[in-house]
């Protein structure tokens, strides 16, 4: 008998008796099979229904998380916004991946680019001043950016360089976490990417006296340029 069989046999033996439902005092519970992603929605923090409310909520959450959220009037302003940051931080080298939005702007900076969607040298990525990526969604409820390695240039681009810049469209904003998981299911259920991540603000730690410090191991700055 393999260890797998042994463990599963012990599990099956243990489960011959079913445990009482949690907090059960005779009331009826929804059977597990009847629950779906949106069951949780009614208990999670409330999100307004209109787009304006959701956008305002994302803005408020981003500010609390110390992420820089810039709402731009059109796609053409992306270039300008990016150039401003590049000048202010004196970027020498950037990292990015190929995509409709990234291709549109990254060339305009006239800086050497390390592309991470084909084989790349991680030491080169480490020397980049910023990583510029697209995303799958913005989540109003939590102020999160949803990325996958397939849509955002691999696993390391969004976490290794000291500044992560996300390019997003307004219509990528979703209301809440259940909606984000529904989106993942619709987009990828046939073949999920090997990494999916909710990025909620720049990297942080409070391990020293519970005092917040940004930029523990990941980016010290997170900028979201949204048009």
């Amino acid at each position: 008998m393999t260890e797998r069989e042994k463990i599963l046999a012990r599990v099956r033996e243990a489960l011959k008796v079913t445990a009482p439902l949690p907090g059960s005092h005779g009331e009826t519970h929804l059977p597990a099979s009847a629950k779906n992603i949106s069951t949780a929605r009614q208990w999670l923090p409330k999100v307004g229904e209109s787009f304006a409310e959701q956008l305002a909520l994302f803005q408020k959450n981003a500010a609390e998380l110390k992420a820089d959220f810039q709402l731009l009037a059109s796609r053409d302003e992306l270039e300008n916004a990016l150039a401003k940051i590049s000048t202010a931080e004196n970027w020498k080298r950037i990292a990015s991946h190929h995509g409709e939005l990234t291709d549109f702007v990254s060339g305009s900076l006239d800086l050497p680019i390390c592309f991470t969607d084909k084989n790349y040298d991680v030491h080169e990525l480490e020397t980049c001043d910023a990583g510029i990526s697209e995303c799958d969604a913005l989540v109003a409820q939590t102020g999160s950016v949803l990325v996958a390695n397939r849509s955002a240039g691999g696993r390391a681009l969004s976490v290794l360089p000291p500044h992560h810049v996300v390019l997003a469209r307004r219509e990528q904003l979703v209301a809440d976490l259940p909606a984000a998981f529904e989106l993942l299911q619709q987009k990828y259920a046939a073949n999920y990417p090997s990494m999916i991540s909710f990025i909620t603000g720049p990297s942080r730690t409070s391990d020293i006296e519970r005092i917040l410090v940004l930029g523990a191991h990941g980016p010290k700055k997170l900028t979201i340029l949204c048009f």
């Binding site: 012990r10 445990a19 993942l184 990297s203 730690t205």
Partner: protein
């Protein structure tokens, strides 16, 4: 430890701030109580159909090129991981925070095999440099001040003195960056394992687990079999609840789902991914219908943070990997009831832990059940001999009088060796005070008074 006022002040300040943040987050839920009920029912479903979900999880995750290993015991899990390390001829390992790895004492085993193992969560890195166990399951270094950490970094990393938490964090960041770029193997834990899609989910703030899962060529993830959640969408509930209960955040900085090693067409990530599923007495807990819900635990640490005992004695006093109420409940199951039954008494039975638990584990009743179960069992030999001797002593007045005199006369000698192995009361005096025997017995005093 409870008498160490400085220690208590540090812990109280840290946990006071936690409570404020957590209450704010709880209040933002439309109904925290209903969310708890839903979370508890989801975990109930996962555990009461664990065989089905484990089979589904492994089939899905293996289909995408992940190697799954099963370990009944801690020793087997260590051996599986050591074998992978040997096969890869690895020299250096980086590890993101994993309580399960603490449970099986993985670092000791790896270091014993001649490997360089570096913890990359800041708090874990600090306690590793101090050769200490984590103080708390979520905040490993919460018992240390910035001054102590600065001294530690000066000594171990040769850094310049600073009192700025940000500067200290950057010292660690620079030191660990090099390790990330050169390590052969990355080891992680997991917060959840999703049966529906064959993924693990890792919750963190620093980005260290993300780097661990992105840079080394081989990745190993160690998790208990109880980490299962049925559906990917269940995370929409569990991720914000874990963050709220754990640290008082709406969501931690990175919540990442991994579904395989680097896939065809992907540009980075490990070439090989090994997932080690650990039993280590979990199936015994599963067989205990009364306490099966203990396996709901998502290791958020909320029960530690509200526990009046933990707040006073601190995490190291327990002498266990898992401290606080959850540790007191599960340690007797993991390491033997008779040897660890005293933990069931490290409780005021106030129920604060049960109320704080986001997945509704009935913690304080389980502490009572452990007391009951310990009482009906045969106690350890040491305890049997101890009590039998005491009965003899207490039933014979002359022997009793002699013992009192003997104690009074020999106590000054005991003081000379107190705290050393020569001390016959070593196991007691190591962690407790031994009060002085009164210079005069009540009987003598009574006689004189007449």
């Amino acid at each position: 430890m409870a008498g160490d006022l400085r220690h208590r002040k540090i812990i109280r300040a840290a946990l006071g701030n936690y409570e404020i943040a957590r209450d704010k987050r709880k209040a933002s839920f439309q109904s925290w109580e209903s969310a708890r009920q839903l979370a508890a029912e989801t975990k109930w479903d996962a555990l009461n159909h664990l065989d089905k979900y484990l089979v589904e999880f492994t089939a899905k995750i293996e289909a995408r090129g992940t190697k799954v290993h099963w370990a009944s015991t801690a020793a087997q899990a260590r051996e599986i991981i050591l074998q992978i390390v040997r096969d890869k001829k690895a020299k250096s390992v980086i590890k993101s925070k994993a309580m399960t790895a603490e449970e099986i004492h993985l670092n000791d085993a790896l270091e014993h095999a001649g490997l360089n193992v570096v913890e990359n969560d800041l708090g874990e890195f600090i306690v590793q440099l101090r050769h200490e166990a984590p103080y708390h399951i979520v905040f490993p270094s919460m018992h240390l001040t910035r001054g102590e950490i600065s001294e530690l970094f000066q000594r171990e990393l040769g850094s310049t003195p600073t009192n700025d938490p940000e500067e200290l964090t950057m010292i660690a960041r620079r030191a660990l960056r090099k390790k990330f770029l050169t390590a052969d193997i990355g080891i992680t834990g997991a917060n959840f394992a999703i049966a529906e899609t064959g993924m693990i989910s890792i919750t963190e703030n620093e980005g260290n687990a993300r780097l661990t899962a992105a840079l080394p060529k081989t990745m190993i993830s160690l998790l208990g079999i109880e980490k299962i959640l049925p559906k990917l969408g269940d995370l929409a509930l569990f991720l914000p609840m874990l963050a709220t209960a754990g640290t008082g955040q709406p969501l931690t900085c990175y919540n990442t789902m991994y579904g395989g090693p680097r896939q065809p067409g992907e540009s980075d990530g490990p070439e090989e991914w090994h997932v080690v599923l650990l039993d280590n007495h979990r199936t015994e807990l599963l067989a205990d219908v009364e306490q099966r819900d203990v396996l709901h635990c998502i290791r958020c640490g909320a029960c530690l943070n509200v526990c009046p005992i933990f707040k006073n004695i601190g995490g190291h006093t327990y002498g266990t990997v898992y401290s606080g109420p959850i540790g007191s409940v599960i340690t007797p199951h993991l390491r033997g009831l008779q040897d660890w039954k005293h933990l069931s008494n490290a409780s005021s039975l106030c129920g604060a832990c049960t109320e704080a638990c986001p997945v509704k584990i009935d913690l304080h009743h389980h502490l009572l059940q452990n007391r009951r179960n310990a009482a009906v069992q045969q106690p350890t030999l040491k305890e049997q001999i101890g009590f039998k001797s005491f009965v003899q002593l207490a039933n014979h007045p002359k022997l009793w009088a002699f013992a009192k005199k003997f104690a009074r006369l020999t106590q000054p000698l005991q003081k000379l060796v107190r705290g050393t192995r020569l001390d016959p009361g070593y196991h007691w005096t190591q962690t407790r005070d031994l009060p002085d025997v009164a210079p005069e017995t009540f009987k003598d005093w009574w006689r004189k008074r007449k």
